[in-house]
Amino acid sequence: MVKVCHIQFSMESGGRGALRLQKALRKSNVDSNIVSLRKNDQGLFNVTYLNNFSRLISRLDNRLQGVLTKNVITNLGFFSFPILGSNVAKLEEIKNADVIYIHWALNGLLNFKSFKEIAALKKPVIIFLHDMWAITGGCHHSFTCEKYMKEGCNNCPMFPSQRKHDLSYREFRKKSQLYNNHDNLYFVSPSKWLYDCAKKSLLTKDKPIFYIPNILDQTLFKPFDKLVAKQILSIDKDEIVISFGAISVGSPYKGWPYLQKALELLFRENDRKNVLVLIFGSNYNKAIAESIPFKTRFMGYLKDEYSAALIYNAVDVFIAPSLAEAFGYVVMEALCCGTPVVGFDVGGIPDMIRHKENGYLAKYKDAEDLYNGIKFCLQNNIKGYLPEDLNADLTLKKHLQLFDNVLANTKNSTK
C-alpha cells in the first residue's frame, strides 16, 4: 500500500485542501498522514503537529520577512522568501512515507534548506501549486508581469528599488538550483491556467507537471431543499439571498470594489429590494456592511463543513469576485450545493463555471458584467452543478495514477 505524507502549514482555510485530499485518500485505503505546524482543536486523525520550537521558528521567520519586505508594493499582493524553516525530513512520518506531498508550507514551516533535506531522501516529492509562488521569484501572483517565463525574475515590479539583481532575482536562482539538482520533484496544479503558467515558467517548464483539480466530498457538499436551508438560518423564504466569502477590503486578489459596484447596480433596479446579502467567514464588518446597499448578515467563523454546506444551500447566487485565483474552493463548494456562481473569467474559475449553464463568467474587472451575471442567474433560475471532469472520484483516480507514475519513475531512476 502506498504511504503518502502531506506537509501543510495549518488545517484552516487554505489548509482544507490537504485535509480533504487526505480524507479522500484514506477512504480509498491509501495510508495518508499530514505533518502540520499549526495546532487544530478538532481532534483530527493522522495529523502530526510540529513542536513549539518549530512554531517559534515560524514566527521569527514571519517577523524577519515582514521587516525585510516592508517596502513591497502591497497592491501587487504577497511576496515570500523563506528564511527560516524546520527540518521535517527527520520525522518518522516523512521517513516512512513513499511519497511526500508538499502543500502550503511557507510562513516559516519550510525554507530552501528544508526543501533540500526532503528532496535528498530520494523519494518522489510532489509540490502542489496553491498559487504562483513555486514558479516565480517570490510573488504569489504575478498579475501582468511575465518575467518568470521570459528572462527569469529580476527588477521585480513589487519592489520600488528597481535593481536588476534584487531579491526576486536571487530567489529565482535559488529555486532554479533546487529544482535542477533534484529529479524527484513533481508539480501538481489544480487549475488549467496555473498549469499553463507552470509549463511556461523558466523554473518548471522542463519538470513533470500535472493538472489535477482539488477534491471535495460531494456527500457533504450536495444540494438539498433550499427552503429547509433557509428555515435553518431563519431566512424568510421570499428573500433573495446573495452571498460571498469574507473579503479583506484592501486585498488586491479579492476584487471587493467590483463586487461593491455590482451590488450597487443591482440595488438601482427597483424590483430587487427583498435581497439579503450573506457574508461567510467574517464577524460583523462595518466597512463592508456600510458600503452594501442591501440588508447584510455576517455568518461569523463557521468551523464545520456541514454548516458551510447549509449556507451554500440557502443561497440563491454566490459571487466570487477574485481577480487572481489559483483554484477557488468556494466556487466548487457552492456549485456542489446546487448554487450558481458568478465570477470573473480568471485563474481556476473558468475550469468550474460553465458560462450561463451553472453560473456566469463575467468579463475580467467588469463590475457591470458581474451585475449582469447576478441578474442572469436569478432571472433564469440557474442551478449550480459541478462539471463532470471535476468529479471527486475522477480526481481521486488521477491522484492514484500520479502516485503510481512517480513511484515507477523513482524506481527506474535508481536502477
Binding site: 483530527l44 431543499d225 431563519s234 461569523g300 463557521l302 468551523k303 464545520d304 456541514y306 454548516s307 447549509l310
Partner: protein, 415 residues
Amino acid sequence: MLKVVQLQYSTFSGGSSAIRLQKAFINNGIDSNIVSLITDEYKLENILYLSLRQRLVAKLNCKIESALLKNGNKDFGLFSIPVFGNDVSTLKEIRDADIIYIHWFQNGFLNLTNIRKLAKLNKPIIMVLHDMWAITGGCHYSFFCDHYKVGCNNCQALANNKKNGLAAAFFEKKHKLYSRFDNIFFISPSKWLYNCAKDSLKEMNNRVFYIPNYIDIALFKPIDKKTAKYILNIKEGTTVISFGAISIDDKRKGWSYLKKALEILKAGNDLDDVLILIFGSNYDANLEKTLPFKAKFMGYLSDEYSISVVYNASDVFIVPSLADNQPTTVQESLCCGTPVVGFDVGGVSDMIRHKENGYLARYKDAEDISEGIKYCINNKVKGEVLSSFYPEAIIKKHKDLFAQVRSFNQQNQAR
C-alpha cells in the same frame, strides 16, 4: 445602559452558555463583555482574551493542583483546589461593568483570592453554578455525599480523608468569602442544584436564585427530519438514536447503563434499522466494537447550525448522566423537537415531562432507559421545550435579578 461582564475560562464548547447569554443580553439592550483565559483561534466579538503570561500561571496552577490531588479517588470526578489565579479586578472591562458574572473559572483562571478582589469592587457578583464546586470543599459533584450541607470534612474524594483536610479548609475559605461579602449572589440553572445551594449556604439563602441556561430557539428548532437525515447521509427510515460523546471512564456520565440499555434493545429486537449517532467524537474503533448497532461518529462539531441538524436527524436523544446540573444537550434536543430519555436526576428532571416530551427513567435502571427509547419511538413522542425555558422568560429573570441585586447592594452600602 447596564453593563455586564462575564468571566469564563474558555469560550469553546463548555463556554457556550456564557456566549449565549452574552448574545441574548446584547440583543436585549444590555451591554456585555466576556473575559476569557483561553484564546479562541477565531476571535469573537466582545471578548477579551488574557495574555500568555496569565495562561502560564494557569498551567502552573494545574500542575500543582494535580500533584496535590494525585492520590485522590478518581471515581468522584473532577476536584479543584485553585492555588494560583489571575487578578482581573484591574481590567477596564471589569472596572466599567455594573454587574460581574462568574462562570467556570477553574484550571488556574481565578482562585478565591481573585474572587475576593473582585468582590471588594463593591459591584454585585453573580456566580453561575455550572456544577456543585462553589458550594463544596472542592468536588464538582458530590454524588451521595452530603457533607457540604454541614461543612466538608473526611472527604472521600481525597486520599487521606482526614477530618480537617484540604476539602474542609477550602469549604471554610469559601464560606468566609461569601459571608464577608454580601454582594456575592448565586444562580443555579437547575432546581436540584438550587436546593443543594440553599442547603449549603444556609445563612445566605436569600442570595441564591434559580434561572435556567439561555438557549436561542431561533437556532435550535425543528426542521424537516427527512432533510436533516439526508444532509447527514442517513437513509430514510433509519431509526436514529443519538447521544453525546461519553468518556467511558467518567462514571458520572453513565456509559455502562447506556451500553446495557442498547444491548437490551438489541436483544429484544424491537426496533428496525437502528443507527447510533455519536456527537462530539471522532471515529473510535474501541467504542464502536462495544456497540450492538451500527454507529456513526459525527466528529467535533463546533457550529450551532450543524449541531441543530444532528439533533433534528435524531429520533431520540439519550442522556445517561448519573449526576448533572442542567445539561445543555437536553435543552438543545428538546428545542429541535427530538425527545430525550434520561435518568430522573439533577436538572434533567426539570426539562423532561415523563412520556410527554421524553422519558424519565428510574435512576440507574438500564432496562428503564431501553423502555424509554422504545416508548419514545413507538409513540412518536415529540420533543418540546417547556415554556419556563423560553428565551423571553429567562431574560426577564435575569433582568429581575439585576434590579434585585442592585437594590440589595445600594441598601447595604447605605447602611
